[in-house]
């Protein structure tokens, strides 16, 4: 009896978390393992044999493989442009909207609306607006006499247009900044004011450093998320945009489900995982630059 009781005490909890254990095993860890194994295999379609091989990885790191390198560079370029831009703009927006004045709640909600629009609809919408001939944006610019922008019809400008569209989603980061900004006690600002700090100094020496935890969190999640951008990029990828929107996940997707080259795709996705892990590690290592003090859970 006592043994049963001890059994129950120690292991009952496992029953509660059984769903997540099964789920993690089935839908996360087993696939990851299978993916790793697959990346080292090559199937000969004629004989249906699978051989252990490094070929996929060799192909990735082969210097003649411009497709992967180009995709990687595009992704890194996009990340390098998009993340600072989005963080700065959403922070500026939050600074503008965090004081509780009449009507500010409505403005915040309205700024959050573009985040709620489904990705498909958003893509469709922007395709229409940015259409070269009859899209509203170009028509508007022509009216002003500024000529037309090629946007998604040219490889060179597609990325810029894509970044622009992404900026409409800064509402979600804005919410995070606002809750962090509200946590800064007003006494800090009062003291700064008394000591004679002007607005720039207040901003850069007090407000931003005190937002450290959120900066860390937003940076980390942004890097992880932006390196995996897929939905909109896949929608906008046409022969006209060439390779410019061919980010890593889009590229992997095409290899896996366009060419059915599963082994190569698996190897690529593990390379992506490694890149994400390394960058996340770097951000974590820099954690102490932005988070001071003890507990910032």
């Amino acid at each position: 009896m006592k043994f049963l009781y001890k059994l129950k005490k120690d292991y009952l909890g496992i029953l509660f978390v059984l769903p997540v254990i099964i789920g993690l095993a089935c839908f996360t860890f087993v696939p990851m393992g299978k993916s790793l194994i697959n990346s080292f295999q090559e199937t000969d379609y004629a004989t249906r044999e699978t051989v252990f091989t490094f070929n996929h990885y060799k192909r990735i790191f082969d210097s003649a493989n411009t497709q992967f390198t180009r995709s990687l560079l595009q992704t890194l370029l996009f990340t390098a442009i998009d993340i600072p831009l989005r963080m700065t703009l959403s922070f500026a927006l939050a600074l503008f909207l965090y004081k509780e004045v009449r009507g500010v709640r409505l403005v915040r909600v309205l700024c959050y609306v573009p985040v709620i629009i489904p990705t498909v609809v958003s893509g469709l919408l922007w395709k229409t607006i940015m259409e070269y001939d009859v899209g509203y944006l170009n028509l508007f610019l022509t009216e002003l006499g500024l000529g037309r922008l090629t946007l998604f019809y040219s490889e060179k400008t597609a990325l810029a247009a894509f970044v622009f569209i992404g900026l409409f989603g800064i509402g979600s980061s804005m919410i995070l900044w606002i809750s962090q900004l509200k946590n800064i006690p007003s006494t800090v600002y009062e003291v700064a004011d008394i000591e004679g700090a002007n607005r720039f100094q207040t901003l850069f020496r007090i407000t931003i450093p005190l937002c450290g935890p959120t900066i860390f969190y937003v940076l980390l999640t942004s890097i992880i998320g932006t390196l995996q951008v897929f939905d909109l990029a896949y929608m906008f990828s046409t022969p006209l945009t060439g390779d410019s929107l061919n980010f890593l996940v889009v590229f992997i997707y095409q290899q896996a489900f366009g060419f059915f080259d599963m082994g190569y795709a698996c190897a690529l996705s593990w390379v992506l995982f490694t890149i994400i892990a390394i960058l996340s590690g770097i951000v974590f290592a820099c954690k102490k630059w932005v988070i001071y003090g003890e507990d910032y859970a």
Partner: protein
């Protein structure tokens, strides 16, 4: 009464809102335009409001099917997520058992894994299970088994607010753990349960990459709304009347239709949604 801001602030705020909502307005305007006007040179305003776009007989049956499919997936996902996320969150926070730390660490780690790495082998696994032909299972079954680690974390934050003494007294009175969960914890966690419901619904509604991966072989009857709209925009359903790839007015109409439930849910629950984003940092 909270204080008013300066006039210039309000002007700036109005401009800001107009900028953010402009694409949305464009969508609505275009959806009311008739066929010719869309490609006719730029009308900012339709001369006659055409509601016919919303009732196109050729497309409607498909839209309804897709809508049903999306609702099925959403409903099942919500049920599954609530059940399993609550069970697991309760297990992690209030019940002590061996290996808890390891399992918890594994759960946390799973949020950081890139989804594409799992999606490719999952495709192969589902192919073996027969889940790729004409079924919606890949989209909702994972919800029953763990319901998303982010949700579990969110609920755990909330459950921590329930004092242990309440649970202890319940146990002394003879309730087993399940009773503790369903009679005490759950009623107190209604706000977070609501949030999880709303988040799950919005996630399913907007999701398109899972549908793209797992439903591609299944034929049109099994698509979700997001996937259907995407395929429409690629021009698979243009009929003889138009030589162009897409009929913008109609796509805009369907787009507006697709936005309506999201907007409704958002409008009703926006306060808790925004609070939830602030707590968990997860995008809607």
């Amino acid at each position: 009464m909270r204080k008013k801001a300066s006039v210039s602030w309000y002007i700036a705020a109005v401009v800001l809102v107009l900028i953010f909502l402009l694409p949305f307005f464009v969508m609505i305007i275009k959806s009311f335009m008739s066929e010719e006007e869309v490609f006719d040179f730029p009308k900012l305003w339709p001369s006659s409001i055409v509601i016919a776009n919303y009732y196109n007989k050729a497309i409607m049956p498909y839209i309804l099917t897709w809508f049903m499919n999306t609702m099925i997936v959403a409903g099942l996902s919500i049920v599954g997520t609530l059940l399993s996320a609550f069970l697991c969150a309760y297990g992690f926070s209030k019940v002590h058992f061996k290996f808890k730390t390891i399992i918890f660490a594994a759960t946390m780690a799973s949020t950081m894994l890139p989804s594409i790495t799992m999606r490719i082998p999952l495709y192969m696994i589902y192919a073996d299970w027969g889940w790729l032909n004409g079924t919606l299972k890949p989209l909702f079954v994972p919800a029953f088994l763990g319901g998303g680690a982010m949700n579990i974390l969110l609920i755990m934050q909330f459950i921590k607010g329930i004092p242990n003494s309440v649970l202890e007294s319940a146990r002394i009175d003879g309730a087993n753990e399940l009773r503790c969960l369903f009679r005490i914890v759950l009623p107190n966690c209604l706000p977070i349960a609501l949030l999880v419901c709303v988040n799950t619904f919005l996630g399913v509604w907007n999701d398109y990459s899972s549908a793209l991966t797992f439903l591609r072989n299944s034929g049109e009857e099994k698509w979700t709304l997001a996937l259907g709209l995407f395929e429409l925009s690629r021009g698979r359903y243009d009929d003889e009347q138009t030589q162009t790839f897409f009929r913008e007015n109609q796509q805009m109409a369907i787009g507006v239709l697709m936005c309506i439930p999201s907007m409704l849910i958002f409008g009703i629950f926006q306060k808790s949604l925004i609070e939830g984003v602030a707590i968990s940092g997860v995008k809607a």
